[in-house]
């Protein structure tokens, strides 16, 4: 189990990532790489605070942001005011000792600061650099501003999500994180390629395209039949019952999915309504789909008399797929996730003990680890500039005074 023990053999042993990203879509990619054992150095500045260090995510001061902590575990943090030439010079020296660079500023911003890929490649010919942006680096819409809700709608996922008779719905922060998860895969791929060939390279990631991939089947439908798929709430073609049903209690729900006649008959027996199984409206899959409104009403009559836990137990025992619709609190208290080691404790110097979420995968021989809390601003200035780059401590003090390290 991923129990937070320091893996003697990290998957990304010896890999160093330089992280210029902020907020959510950017930082989650180096977060995942850090859990795999890479050393991640995050570059920040007090001149413009990382978004997650600001309200509404931070309360009182920039060091008191639980979500910044959660998104930047294991990272080191240095301060650099990149508008200062000396800071730029230090950034390039960091590039020269790194394996990959991650950034998610608007296209062109890194270039204007003197940190574009061509410049980075001069500092380190084998660097892997990924730039994540709303619509990619090129094309007529590349300069348009992007947030999660923009990618959600541009990707087509928004249109496909919601009640069929209501406007489209929003997936929110998960959208940014899906872009970050895609970035992690792309950087890992770049690092693997580099490890085998000695070649670095530039990766241009489009957030809206990253999400459009999730809607592949709807795109294929248009490609083959010229037909636009529409949102369908909780329904699934060819499956009935298939939905989320009200349970006993306040705002509690159970999801149920029945794939075939065997499962349908098992459900009817389990809920004590074998008469449903012989009801001609529900005789086969096609008929159940056609009469799904009536079916759902019947089934909800049963679920409403049970808690989600009871309903799930009865249905799973009968071999029917069912699960509660779980809130953040349900997940925090869930015995299965506790068994799996999903929630881990880490001590943060300002926030105290924090419960944070483990990596989304387990690797038996190179277990992902949470080794340290999210850094304080500039917490590792000395470690990185003096011990790693070999700068004299007096220089570091001077840079601090001059606002280079700020």
């Amino acid at each position: 189990m991923g129990d937070g023990v320091n893996g003697a053999r990290p998957a990304l042993a010896g890999v160093r990532i330089l992280d210029f990203s902020s907020l959510l879509a950017g930082p989650i990619s180096p977060l995942f790489l850090g859990m795999l054992g890479a050393e991640v150095i995050k570059v920040e500045s007090r001149v413009r605070l990382e978004g997650m260090r600001r309200p509404p995510y931070a309360y009182d001061d920039p060091e008191q942001s639980p979500v910044y902590n959660s998104l930047n575990l294991n990272k080191l943090c240095v301060q650099l005011n990149l508008k200062e030439p000396a800071a730029l010079e230090l950034a390039l020296r960091l590039v020269s000792v790194s394996d990959a660079v991650v950034e998610n500023m608007r296209p062109g911003v890194m270039d204007r600061m003197g940190l574009g890929y061509d410049r980075l490649r001069q500092a380190n010919p084998t660097i892997v650099m990924i730039s994540g942006s709303s619509a990619g680096r090129h094309g007529p819409e590349s300069s348009y501003p992007g947030y999660a809700n923009v990618f959600n709608s541009l990707s087509g996922l928004g249109h496909l999500t919601g009640y069929p008779d209501a406007p489209p719905s929003e997936l929110r922060d998960s959208i940014d994180a899906r872009v970050g998860a895609t970035s992690a895969f792309a950087v890992l791929t770049g690092l693997f390629h580099r490890r085998r060939t000695g070649e670095g390279g530039f990766i241009d990631l489009s957030a809206s395209e990253a999400l459009a991939m999730f809607g592949g089947e709807a795109l294929m439908e248009y490609a083959m039949n010229g037909r636009v798929q529409h949102r369908r709430g909780n329904r699934e073609p060819g499956m009935a019952p298939h939905g989320c049903y009200r349970c006993q209690g306040d705002d509690t729900w159970v999801t149920i999915a029945v794939e075939n006649d065997t499962e349908w008959r098992a459900l009817c027996r389990a809920v004590g309504r074998e008469d449903w199984a012989s009801d001609p409206r529900f005789a086969d899959r096609l008929l159940r789909c056609r009469n799904q409104d009536a079916l759902d009403e019947f089934l909800e009559g049963w679920t409403a008399k049970h808690t989600p836990e009871e309903a799930v137990r009865i249905l799973q025992d009968a071999g029917v797929a069912a699960a509660p619709s779980m809130s953040s609190q349900d997940l925090a208290e869930d015995p299965h996730l506790r068994y799996r080691g999903v929630w881990q404790e880490i001590e943060h110097p300002v926030l105290g003990a924090q419960t944070v979420q483990a990596a989304p995968w387990k690797l038996s021989e190179t277990p992902p680890t949470i080794r340290s809390a999210g850094p304080l601003i500039g917490q590792h200035n000395h470690h990185v500039f003096v011990e790693l780059l070999g700068a004299p401590p007096e220089d570091v003090a001077r840079w601090q005074e001059a606002g280079v390290i700020n």
Binding site: Y59, S174, A177, G190, F192, R195, L219, A223, A321, Q357
Partner: protein, 404 residues
């Protein structure tokens, strides 16, 4: 210098529907050699899912399968039967990765579990993708996408905003297009590459355990972090301030003028610059306080315009806005066209169709040409005779015995 990142890597895929196949597709589209091992007879359930050309079911032409099957070869093989197992071991012996999605505990009796296959090939990266992971009290639960999506924290909060205010008594919903399955496939692909990287360093393979629940929870990290960090518990009635979804002439748009400069850009584009000076709309706080009025102003303006008009006028002036794009809009997007996001793939039965390709472009290696999704068992002879050196008679024998 032009070698794809995973050239020379062999991936065996013994998985169905979306999550496992998407993991292998991501690797195959970047150069891995993927051999899909399908159950003799019906093959991967995705073949039966559709959509189908002209709505005529054909297991070689399911749109979902065509999308997920690019750059793979297919053999039909039942490794649970002794003759099939022996061939499977021979494939495993020279493979780098196995992606599998069997229910925990069911592979062992057939000698298909990790401890057994590690004996066959110590360098093997054995990737298991299951609804709830390899262990724990829920590991044996049956699940479909709707179930795993709703045990990840986000389903419970959806839909927020307009959907909830229109239908507060309705159930929470599931994200469209099987999003959670893709979460799991993508997470598994990352873990696979990490394990391949580790093998370069440490010289051994390993067992990768991906839970669909945890993969989708991973992208809800912010929401879950806010609960643990500050006790914020989201549900469908969550307040969305002003801005968001508005109806327009031909659909819906997003408009999000959060910051002052974005609000100014909006009202200038609208031709009502005076709205930036009014006290009720002066700061973000003022606009939140007068959210209904701010929404009303935006709604009246969007109603008379198209998605595209609103999108380009606002976004080109740095006011965040976007159309709720349909599949048709994506295929007609000049941005996606300029990026080359769609690519033509020619398939022997489905013909040439435009497929979504990849969301990332690697400067070091141009995208390899796509091989179409395989017909069921299309490569039995090529792989079993060509690579495992079975004789044509042996192949016929296996076919007759239902092993392939």
């Amino acid at each position: 210098m032009v070698s794809a990142p995973f050239s020379g890597i062999t991936v065996l895929e013994r998985a169905g529907f979306i999550a496992g196949p998407y993991c292998a597709k991501l690797l195959g589209d970047l150069g891995a050699r993927v051999v899909k091992i399908e159950p003799p007879g019906a093959g991967d359930p995705a073949r039966g899912f559709g959509p189908f050309p002209g709505d005529v079911p054909d297991r070689d032409q399911s749109g979902l399968f065509l999308f997920l099957g690019t750059n793979k070869r297919s053999i039909t093989l039942d490794p649970a039967r002794p003759a099939g197992r022996e061939l499977f071991y021979r494939l495993v012996a020279t493979a780098d990765v196995l992606v599998e999605d069997s229910c925990p505990g069911t592979a062992e009796p057939f000698g298909l579990d990790y401890p057994t296959l590690r004996q066959v090939n110590p360098g093997l990266v054995y990737v298991s993708i299951t609804p709830y992971g390899q262990d724990g009290p829920r590991s044996q639960w049956k699940a479909h996408h709707i179930n795993t999506f709703h045990v990840a924290g986000e389903g419970y909060t959806m839909p927020g905003g307009i959907g909830y205010s229109m239908f507060p008594d309705r159930a929470p919903i599931t994200a469209g297009a099987h999003v959670g399955e893709y979460d799991a496939g993508l997470a598994a692909a990352s873990a696979t590459v990490a394990a391949l990287f580790a093998r370069e360093i440490w010289g051994h393979g390993q067992h990768v355990d991906v839970s669909k629940q945890e993969a989708t929870m991973a992208v809800n990290r912010l929401t879950l972090g806010l609960y643990h960090g500050v006790g914020q518990l989201n549900n469908r009635s969550r307040n969305y301030e002003y801005g968001g979804i508005y109806a327009c002439k031909d659909g819906y748009v997003n408009v999000y003028p959060r910051e002052d400069h974005q609000w100014r850009a909006l009202v200038e584009v609208m031709g009502r610059p005076e709205l930036a000076e009014q006290e009720r709309f002066l700061t973000r706080g003022d606009r939140i306080e007068h959210g209904d009025e701010a929404n009303q102003v935006i709604r009246e303006w969007t109603a008379a315009l198209t998605k595209d008009e609103i999108y380009h006028r606002l976004a080109s002036n740095s006011c965040p806005a976007s159309p709720f794009a349909t599949s048709e809009d994506l295929f007609e997007s000049p941005q996606l066209e300029a990026r080359g996001f769609f690519t033509d793939v020619e398939h022997p039965k489905a013909g040439t169709l435009r497929y979504p390709s990849q969301p990332y472009q690697f400067s070091s290696c141009p995208r390899p040409a796509d091989r179409p999704a395989p017909l069921l068992g299309q490569h039995n002879e090529e792989i079993l005779c060509g690579e495992l050196e079975l004789s044509p008679e042996e192949l016929t024998g296996l076919r007759r015995g239902g092993v392939i």
